[in-house]
């Protein structure tokens, strides 16, 4: 046993590769692997308890269930990258869904306009909250807490006396009720794999041709292989049920888009910089407040998007849309998947991965017909475990930084 004190760092060089891998595993460098393993354990446990959990019908349902929370989580990831928090995303999702439903059902707006209005409302709310946060330097926690209290009030107002608005527009319901044929599913998978492989190989090639260090070709091929297997299995399972759902494509599409924004553009780089060291970012000439306001707008916009998908799946919007544990699940997901609450570390994919974990747990517990008391406690325990791991990983990184 090595002593866990400050001297540990000094013998870092003599450690075995295995120990190094273990350290990286804990320190969060391999956070995704940790989560995938945890997910495998969760699935195995539920499968042993209830084999129907792994049926293609249930796994398809799982995908549909995770869409709304996953979309909201994408915005949450961006806010967490800044080192801030947005507690209003659940409330905003409910309000946006209410706006869409009322405009479409009661005022006869076309579904596209109604969805557009709901998304615009999300952007406006984000602009407002971001402006208050940056202009008056009020902690984002408090600004969005006020939103958490206020927007459900607006939601009641929008819904009016009836309280519940049933949606029957085929376009809106189709968002979560459209499934593509087997052929289309396979074509989508193959095109996706081909594009990914081409981009990965080209990125490596451009580094090689400039004489920069590049990952080994074998490693790149391995990654392509893993993505291929994952995509083919996913399509195979979904095709075995109703086919690839449109909802899944929407979720993956948003993930891809924001993955590109956060990792390949100057704006994304600035998000990480502000989350890492806002003062350094400011001195480097980055418009820190501009970045913050835009990210809060994205968070509210994604909350609205998630709310629309949730409404489509529930066929209705009522007073409790976006309420309950929706907000906490949307924040817990990315944190479980490895996005840091302290800012500057995380990935848009954590939204998808986290939603998968969270939804798997709740779906599995539903299948086992557990009481809600147990469900709440288990979900809370999972979140607590994730946050503790995040804090430990942060400490480890700081210790490593002192070498």
């Amino acid at each position: 046993m090595s002593t866990a004190d400050a001297t540990v760092d000094e013998d870092a060089e003599v450690r075995s590769p295995g120990f190094d891998l273990l350290r990286r595993f804990v320190a969060g460098d391999l956070a995704e692997l940790r989560v995938v393993l945890a997910l495998a354990v969760i699935w195995l446990v539920f499968y042993i308890q209830e084999p129907r959990f792994m049926s293609s019908v249930n796994l398809s349902n799982l995908v549909l269930q995770m869409t709304a929370v996953g979309l909201v989580s994408i915005g949450v990831v961006l806010v967490l990258l800044l080192g801030e928090i947005d507690l209003s995303v659940g409330a905003v999702s409910g309000l946006a869904a209410a706006i869409m439903a009322v405009l479409n059902v009661k005022h006869g707006w076309s579904p596209y306009l109604a969805i557009g209005a709901a998304v615009a409302a999300g952007l406006a709310i984000g602009l407002f909250q971001g402006a208050v946060f940056t202009r008056f330097a009020v902690p984002s926690f408090v600004v969005t807490l006020a939103g958490l209290l206020a927007w459900p009030g607006a939601q009641l107002k929008v819904l009016g006396e009836t309280g519940t608005v049933n949606i029957n527009d085929p376009k809106i319901l189709g968002l979560t009720n459209t499934f593509y044929s087997d052929t289309v599913g396979w074509i989508l998978a193959l095109v996706g794999i081909a594009v990914y492989a081409a981009l990965a190989l080209r990125a490596r090639q451009s580094r090689v041709s400039e004489g920069l260090s590049a990952p080994q070709l074998g490693l790149v091929v391995l990654r392509i292989g893993l993505v291929t297997i994952a995509a083919l299995i996913a399509v195979w399972v979904l095709n075995d049920d109703r086919g690839v759902p449109l909802a899944a494509l929407i979720l993956v599409g948003f993930c891809l888009f924001f993955f590109y924004i956060t990792t390949r553009t100057t704006f994304g780089r600035h998000i990480f910089a502000v989350g890492g060291n806002a003062e350094a970012a400011r001195r480097a000439g980055i418009g820190v407040n501009r970045v913050r306001v835009i990210v809060f707008m994205v968070a509210s916009m994604m909350a609205a998007t998630g709310g629309i998908m949730a409404a489509s799946r529930l066929l209705a919007v009522n007073q409790s849309s976006g309420a309950g544990d929706f907000l906490l699940l949307a924040i817990a997901g990315p944190v479980i998947a490895g996005t840091s609450l302290f800012g500057g570390r995380g990935s848009v994919w954590h939204a998808l991965l986290g939603a998968l974990v969270i939804t798997s747990i709740s779906n599995g517990m539903d299948l086992l017909a557990l009481e809600s008391s147990v469900k709440f406690m288990v979900t809370g325990a999972v979140l607590l475990a994730a946050v503790v791991i995040d804090a430990i990983a942060r400490r480890q990184r700081q210790a490593a930084g002192r070498v």
Binding site: L212, S213, G275, E279, A281, G344
Partner: protein, 257 residues
């Protein structure tokens, strides 16, 4: 102006600065030649930071003139100073620990690719990494992995990254605030070597330091401030006692050439 008659990269004449009743600088003349390392020493509150911040545009001088490369200039903001070619590395370094060396070097001035990539503000990672490698190699800075997070690096490496970053804007004058504070012996040596290389490449360098051993190791000229006034100016041949005397006021202006 100087013995060799060349134009100083920076010349302050009669600069004064007060904060309310506190006279932080009074009538200071200060010069830096290209390819010269000037150490700025003095006790706490002597006015070193005020002088550097005045040059860097954080403070504006109440009186006096500032000339840059022979032309009189007014510096009213940090942006003015940067545009003139004055780079300042503050003690806190202002690095993002969660970003790697390339990302930190180009922070706020990221390069994008051509064509559609420019429209999308898509980063030119390969180009930036290449330039980073060339810059660090040019400065003989040994950082094995320019894609390693800065937060995992030693204090000396971080200082070198911060200095390298200040050079990306192609400055003429580099000011370093306590570059060796809190560094170990070997790391201090690395940073001092880097400062010497800056001088060899023709930059004017101003170093604030409390450590006289470091100052004597690297400085061509030692400028002592005391109570906001010049208390002495020494060459490399001065003794440490003379400098200490000027800093503490024991020897008055005796060291002045």
């Amino acid at each position: 102006m100087n013995a060799n008659g060349s134009t100083p990269v920076l010349a302050l004449k009669g600069v004064s600065k007060s904060f309310g009743p506190v006279q932080a600088l009074s009538d200071v003349d200060f010069e830096v030649q290209p390819g010269e390392v000037v150490a700025l020493v003095g006790d706490n509150g002597a006015g070193k930071s005020t002088l550097v911040k005045t040059i860097a545009g954080i403070h504006t001088a109440d009186e006096g003139t500032i000339s840059f490369e022979g032309n009189e200039v007014t510096i009213t903001s940090p942006t003015d100073a940067v545009h003139l070619g004055i780079a300042t590395v503050y003690q806190d370094l202002a690095l993002c620990d969660n970003l790697d060396v390339v990302e930190n070097l180009f922070l706020g001035r990221e390069e994008t690719g051509d064509g559609p990539a420019a429209v999308l503000h898509q980063l030119d990672e390969v180009g930036m990494e290449k330039q980073t490698g060339e810059l660090l190699e040019n400065l003989a800075v040994t950082i094995t992995d320019v894609r390693a997070e800065v937060g995992t690096m030693s204090g000396g490496q971080r200082q070198q990254v911060a200095i390298a970053r200040s050079l990306l804007g192609e400055p003429k004058l580099v000011m370093l605030d306590e570059p060796t504070a809190a560094l170990g012996v070997r790391q201090t040596a690395q940073v001092l070597e880097l400062i010497k290389r800056l001088r060899d490449r023709g930059y004017g360098v101003v170093v604030i330091s409390h450590n006289l051993a470091d100052v004597f190791e690297v400085a061509d000229r030692i400028f002592v401030l005391r109570l906001g006034q010049k208390a002495g100016e020494f060459g490399r041949d001065a003794s440490q006692d003379q400098v200490v005397g000027a800093i503490t006021g024991a020897s008055g202006n005796g060291g002045k050439r």
